[in-house]
Every structure is written in C-alpha cells, then in structure tokens.
C-alpha cells in the first residue's frame, strides 16, 4: 500500500475521533458512524433462519425514513413515545428514529402486564407507542381508557392484526415507506431532517427508563444525551471496545443494561449489535454470532455450567475423564495465566494442551469463543462459578451499577478480578460511603431526575449532589475495591453496634453446594445466628458415598455427621467474615438446620426464591428463641402445605450447634 494512503487513513481516523467527541446526541453519533464506517455492520437479525445485516449506512438510511414517517404521523420534539417489544432491529430503530426527531423514547418491559404498562404509559404521557406485535397491541388496547393521550401505535409484526381497526394503528414498514417517499419527493424534507438532527443538544432528555418497581411504584429515570454518551465513552475506552466488536442483544430493552451495553456503547464504539431470532433462541444465536462483548447475570452463567456438567455425565468414559482432568488443570493454573501471574512451565504446557482439547471446544459450544470482555452483575456470584469461567480463559468481570447512574458505578479492570468485590469506581465516577454505610456516587451518566417526581428525586440525592444507591457497602482494605453487602435498609446492627448485613452472610453460606438456603438473624440481638437448609441433592449424594442412611429430608438434616459437615462450612464462613474489619463482628455464633425445606407454597420464600426473613422468624419463633437462649435443642411444630394443596402438621426436635468464631485483630489486641 502506498505510504500516502496510509497517512490519509490515519488522518481520517484522527478526524473520526474528533467528530465522535463532538457528537453529543445518539442521532449525531449514528450519522457519524454512517460516515466513517459506512460499510461496517451495525445491526444483525436472524430472519427466516438467515442472518440479515444492516450496515451503518443502511441503518441511517432506514432510521431517517422512519423518523420522517413518524413525523408525518405527528411525532415531534419533546413528545414521549413508548417502545414495547423484544430485541429486534425495528424496536431499536424506533428508539433511534424518535431520538432523531428529538422525541423521548420510553422503553417498557415487554412482559409487563397490562396494568404496569398502563401505569408507565400514562405517567410518561406518551402520544405514540412503537410495539412489536399483536400481544403488545392487545395489552395497550385493553387499557386504552387510561391512556387518553395515546394517539397512534406503530407495530412491527402484522400477524393477527389484519382485522384490527387501523385508524390508530400503522405498520412500521408502512411508516418507513411513507417516510422514504417523502424524502424522495421533496429534497427539503432531507434538509429539514438534517436540521432536526443538528438541533439536538447534549442537555436534551435522551431517554426515560422506568425502574422495574420491585420496591413500590416504578419511577421514570430521566437521562440526558450527553450523560449517556459520556458514560458510554468512558467504558468503551476502559474496555477498549472498537467497531470490530460484536454483542448479542438479548436483555430486556427497558432495562438500563441493554440500553447501555447494546445501544449507547454500540453507537459510541460503532460495533455491531445482533438481535436474536426469537426470545427462546438466544443460546443458539449466541453460538452463531460469537459475541466479543458479553453480559449475563450470574444465574445465566450458572445455568450454562449446569447444562455442561449434565451433558458431560452422559459423555463417553474417555471424554469425561479428559474433561475433568483438564478442568482440574484449568482450576489450578487458568486464573493465574489470565491474570498474568507467574505459572510453572509444566502448568503452562498442560493448560495449552487443555486449551486445545477441552477449553476451546467447550467455549465454542457455549458461544463464548470470541468473548474478549464479559461482565456479570445484579447479584453475588459464587466464587467457584466465577473462577470456572475465568479459568477457561474468559475475561469475566464484575460491575456494579444502577439505572440512576446509567449503569456503571464500579467495574473491575483487567487483571484485578476478585469474586467478592465489584471493583473500584468506574472512570470519572466518584464514590463516597455515607456514615450509615450507604454507597453514594456522582458519575458522568447520572440521571437528571425522576420524571415528574421532584420529591423522590430530592430524596434520592444528597445535598451536595451525590446519588444514594440504597445499597450498603465498603471499600476492601486489601484491594481498594468496593464490596456491596446488602440493601441499606436491610442492614441491621447487633446490640453492640456492629454492622449486621444478613444477605451478605447468607450468600457466603449459600456458595457452599451443601447449603441450599440460609436465613441470618442478628438485628437488635447480641450475636448472629442462622437457620439453614441443606441441599438434598448435594448432601444426599454425599450421604450415599459415606454410607449415611436416611429416609427423609428431616432425617438427613438432623444427622450428626451432616451437622459436623455444615459446622465446618459455617466456620469457614466465619473466617471469611473475619478477614474484613467491617464484617468481622458479624460472625456466626450458633446455627441450626431446619427440619423442612423452605418453600414458597408455605410463604417462606417469595416466588422468586428469596427468603422472607420476617415471616420465617414469626413462624419459627420457638427456634429463634432457642438460638438465643443457649438451649441445645428445641421442639417445633409447623403447618405445611403439600403439593396437592392439603395441609398437614410437621413437628420435630431441632438441634442447635455452637460454632467457634475467629478472633479479630482488634479484639485480640
């Protein structure tokens, strides 16, 4: 290649970077991408079994036509438009087209019931809605009387809608075609649209994301264009994302994570976002696309691992041996190699061989072969699970964030990965821990406020402009990383004033495969005590191997050997708790193993399998009393609901064990 051309290309790159820096709204970024990487893929979608690709130029062309079409239907600057549907090009296109006109997209969870949908649409005062299909149209129609402002719905999928009254209903295809005709017929339209794009400012509202509303009514988090783009720029640089990267968009579009990872970062870095063929095909699509950037909650990683393990059990003898041997090798050396720590030559060679025989094929099957950066967040991830993926050579990291921050508050830099921290503050994010232990932050992407709710906005902010996360946490002394321990309102105090984070303790216990559920008590008590459920599968198979005979869960749970084993787990948990000054005082003194499994049918767990601490405390009051009055056993009788709905009584004598605690440095001193 002649030297002059290389020089020109470099100059162009430099110009490109400048131009990206200048773009302060997503439509401007779209225009920019269509200019500098016109032929690079921007979106993919599998349609009729074949992956279809839109280049940045195609995408801009289509979004422009769509925007004009929407404008001709009446959408204008400042209007809100609801976006309801799965991850599909037309749905993302709706967000882009709305923003191009200066309208504000309001994505809603596609699986929201009609009532939730009505609340959000009414609160956001939407005049328009872009929806995926008949299901969503039906839901909106069913609550139409609560949405007097809603004028027009546009839909992506015609199926089942043929006979509907089309007075207020348009196919997105028709809207785009209409816009295209208008653009072709009158050059002034294109000029007008260019002006609309140019008129967008960084301070404009870019999007309103409604929180899922697990704690009361959902709130509309207002994010500015500049905030979104600045935040995305920081993390794109942090993880060195480029237009060579590719992501699979399978997270709900109304969730901040999707808008951040698959939209904001996509437009900033210019990479390609692939939309799955259908909600249920995400795992297959993952394999076909082979994304380089991947996000999944811990549960997804766990499901993936379980599936692998189950399938390995069915594999031939040699394959199974090979698999387990090399997974062992990976556990020993994999993480060290990934972190760039010294590893003996023999270990390196074995790992290399394992890479060839096991790790690479395994990652290929899972669709993780090309992953360069993967994140997990949302809940605590088990150390074993976390290190399994890392030991295969996958750069899995943790982040902590929330909608109000436009996702990132902290994230782990390459090479500084720990399973029990969420990393140091993300670039340009300022974190402070309040006296109450609550994590406060200030970030480039932080929200403007809650939509139409100044009181709540004020409540969520400190007087000096920090956002309250509602989570309690502390900075780990060794690593300087943030550790999140629990929701701030759930964190209690022992009688001596020590911090008591119940979920943190429970999670640590639950990471042991033998322990299925844990319920920790300690708020306004003298010490921490826990009630446990053993995992019948794990402990059952242990019992089989060790010739422990049992007839029921109750019998196994009360077995002295099981108690011994669980006591060791609790002691280990205490050692982990003692390692941190903040949690050292919250070590477990006494525990018991419940005579029955906690069950959602009995109201002990929520339907999403979270323990209902308060309810359990009432129900097992005699046990709680015994935990704190020093008795060695207690009688309990509870009503249980059987699978068929019959009720019965279950009584038992439950033993209580004391455990040794680890003296902390301070107390020892």
């Amino acid at each position: 290649m002649p030297r002059g051309i290389v020089g020109a290309a470099q100059r162009e790159d430099a110009v490109a970077i400048d131009a990206t820096a200048a773009a302060d709204t997503f439509p401007k970024l779209l225009v920019h991408n269509a200019r500098v990487r016109a032929d690079r893929p921007a979106l993919r979608h599998k349609d009729l079994g074949i992956w279809q690709t839109w280049t940045w130029a195609d995408l801009l062309d289509e979004v422009r036509a769509y925007a004009v079409g929407l404008h001709r239907l009446g959408l204008k600057r400042g209007d809100t438009i609801a976006i309801v549907g799965a991850n599909r090009p037309r749905i993302y296109g709706s967000v882009m087209a709305a923003q191009m006109l200066g309208a504000v997209p309001v994505p809603v969870y596609a699986d929201a019931v009609a009532d939730e949908l009505a609340y959000v649409l009414a609160h956001a005062e939407v005049r328009f809605a872009a929806v995926e299909d008949q299901e969503q149209v039906d839901k909106i129609v069913s609550v139409a009387e609560r949405l007097p402002k809603l004028e027009t719905m546009v839909y992506d999928e015609l199926k089942g809608l043929r006979d509907y009254d089309h007075a207020k209903l348009r196919a997105i295809d028709d809207v785009i075609a209409d816009g295209r005709t208008a653009l072709a017929n009158d050059p002034k339209v294109a000029e007008w649209l260019d002006n609309e794009i140019a008129a967008g400012k960084g301070s404009d509202i870019s999007i309103i994301l409604y929180t899922s509303g697990t704690t009361g009514q959902s709130k509309g988090v207002v994010l500015s264009a500049k905030g979104c783009i600045d935040a995305a720029r920081d993390t794109v640089a942090f993880d060195k994302l480029t237009d060579q990267d590719e992501a699979l968009a399978y997270l709900p579009i109304a969730w901040v994570g999707d808008h951040y990872l698959n939209y904001a970062q996509q437009l900033v870095a210019g990479f390609c976002t692939a939309c799955p063929e259908h909600g249920e095909t995400a795992m297959q699509d993952l394999r076909e696309i082979g994304p380089t950037f991947y996000f999944a909650p811990p549960r997804t990683f766990e499901t993936m691992l379980t599936r692998v393990m189950i399938r390995m059990e069915d594999a031939s003898f040699i394959k199974r041996k090979l698999f387990h041997y090399f997974i062992g090798v990976a556990r020993r050396y994999g993480e060290a190699i990934l972190n760039g720590q010294p590893v003996p030559v023999q270990g390196r060679l074995l790992y290399r061989l394992g890479q060839f025989l096991v790790y690479a094929p395994l990652k290929n099957v899972l669709g993780l072969s090309r992953v360069r950066v993967a994140y997990t967040a949302g809940e605590a991830i088990g150390p074993d699970l976390f290190s399994f993926y890392r030991s295969l050579g996958m750069n899995l990291k943790q982040l902590y964030g929330q909608t109000e921050a436009f996702l990132y508050v902290t994230c782990q830099p390459d090479g500084q990965i720990y399973s029990d921290t969420v990393g140091p503050a993300a670039p340009n994010v300022d974190i402070r821990i309040a006296d109450s232990g609550e994590v406060l932050f200030k970030s480039p992407g932080m929200f403007v406020g809650y939509f139409k709710d100044d009181a709540k906005t004020k409540e969520a902010m400190t007087s000096d402009g920090y956002v309250k996360t509602g989570d309690a946490g502390f900075f780990d002394q060794k690593t300087g990383h943030l550790k999140i321990i629990d929701r701030a309102k759930d964190v209690g105090k022992l009688n001596d004033g020590t911090l008591f984070p119940p979920k943190y303790i429970e999670n640590k216990l639950k990471f042991f495969p033998n322990i299925r559920e844990a319920v920790a008590y300690g708020d306004k008590r003298d010490f921490v005590a826990v009630m446990l459920n053993i995992d019948l599968t794990a402990v059952g198979s242990w019992a089989e191997r060790n010739n422990v005979v049992y007839g029921s869960y109750q019998e196994l749970a009360g077995h002295p050997l099981v108690y011994d084993m669980v006591a060791r787990h609790v002691e280990e948990t205490n050692r982990a708790l003692a390692a941190d000054k903040m949690t050292a005082g919250a070590q477990i003194r006494r525990f018991l193993i419940l005579h029955k499994e906690l069950d959602a049918d009995d109201g002990e767990l929520t339907r999403t399998q979270k323990v209902r601490r308060g309810f359990i405390a009432e129900r097992y009051d005699p046990l709680i009393k015994a935990l704190y009055d020093g008795s060695a056993e207690a009688d309990i009788s509870t009503e249980v609901t059987f699978e068929d709905g019959r009720k019965g009584n279950l009584s038992a004598r439950v033993k209580i064990r004391d455990v040794t605690t680890v003296p902390t440095l301070e107390k020892a001193a």
Partner: protein
Amino acid sequence: MRAPAASDIAAGEAILSVKNVSLAFGGVKAINDVSFDIKKGEIRAIIGPNGAGKTSMLNVINGFYHPQHGQITFKGRTRQAMRPYEAARGGIARTFQNVALFKGMSALDNIMAGRTLKMRRGFLWQMLRIGPALTEEIAHRRRVEEIIDFLEIQAIRKIQVARLPYGLQKRVELGRALAMEPDLLLLDEPMAGMNLEEKEDMSRFIIDVNDHYGTTIALIEHDMGVVMDLSDRVVVLDHGVKIADGTPDEVKSNQAVIDAYLGVAH
C-alpha cells in the same frame, strides 16, 4: 386434469360438502346418513361424545375410508369416495389425533416433508442438489421458514422431534400440514393432552392460520370452551348420526346435544 383452485370458490360458499354419507365396518355403523358442508374461509368444528364417528368422518373426507353410501363434493367435483392422493393434491391437509411425525427427523425436515407434493424436480435432481433443484429447494425452504416463524418454533428448528415435548410436536405437525398450503385443513383433536397455556397458544395459532392464510379449517375437539370460542359453525355427531348443526350458540342450546353430552334417562 387440473383440480379447481380454491380461488374459484367464493368465500362463504361450500368448499366441501358431504351428502348422505354412511360408513360401516362390518355390522358397526360408524357414520349413518350424515350430510353437512364446510364453507370456504370458516372454522368448522365437528364434535360429539366418544365413538360418535368424528375421526371416521375426517378419514372419509381425506379419502382414508371409503363410505358405502353418499357423495362427497370437494371444490365442485362430486365423488363417491375421495382417494388420499386426490385429497392431498386437491389441497386437503391434516394432523392426527396421535402425533404422526417422522420421529427421527428434525422439526425442519418434518415440515419440509410437507412440501413434497409441491416439488417439481425428480429424486435424482434433488439428490444432486444443483441448478434448478437447488433453486427449488431454496424456494421451498423459504416457505418452510415462514411457517416456522409463524408458529414461533425457531428454537427447535434443528431438534429431533422425538426429543420435543408433546405440545411442540403438535405444533410441528400443524406446521407440516401448513407446508402443503392447504385449502382445507383437517385438525384431529389439536389440543388433546395439552395444558391450559398450550391450549391457548394452539387456539391462537389456529385463529391466526385462518386469518393470515385464509385457510378453511375443520377440527375435531373435545374441549367445549375451545370449540365454542374458535369455530364459526359446529356440527354435532352422536353414534354416527348428525344431531345438530349450527353456530356455537345454537348448538349449545340444542336439547339433543345436551342429552348426548350429559346423558339422558332412557
């Protein structure tokens, strides 16, 4: 000779009518002098208690059984009995009470098999899979993919049907019938053995097929709620005899039907 196309028949006119049909197996009269018609574009239900002759009726319509008496008029041609290949070529497709798929083949291949009658190139051409045979296969595959999309079974496209749960197998079977682009679709208990959610899904697909492709549908079903919701007209058989015929409301209030279902003191 070309079979008359469905488009030659206006919507609302009978696409198929059976007249005075009687079918006996030895001394057992399975169907006794039954007449009714199926109008183009409607969803027609055939209901009745166990052993009423519903499945026999479907088998008569698609030529699997040959009635001893009566006439069948399909698209303007009157015959004494249909032949299965005539029925298939003429545009009658069906699903079965017990799923009858090729268990060892993938969902995709099963639906593709429904295109067999539409394939023009010979066996050898298809084996070579070049030139015109390839072009043809691509066109057929496109139709099949549209059906897969329509029935929302993308996730199981390449899975062997034997490994699929029953509800999905039923859906694949419906897909295979649809692949024939039938003018008349016969569904033999499409919702048997399904849970409520699967039934709702299936009902939606049946309505969508009728709406989207304009396919005339005749179905046998036991679930009365489903029948009354889905169908435009219902014919009721009992012990091989037609006891009622009309809209769901008419049928529901018909004393003979109530007696047949609830039993009556003799």
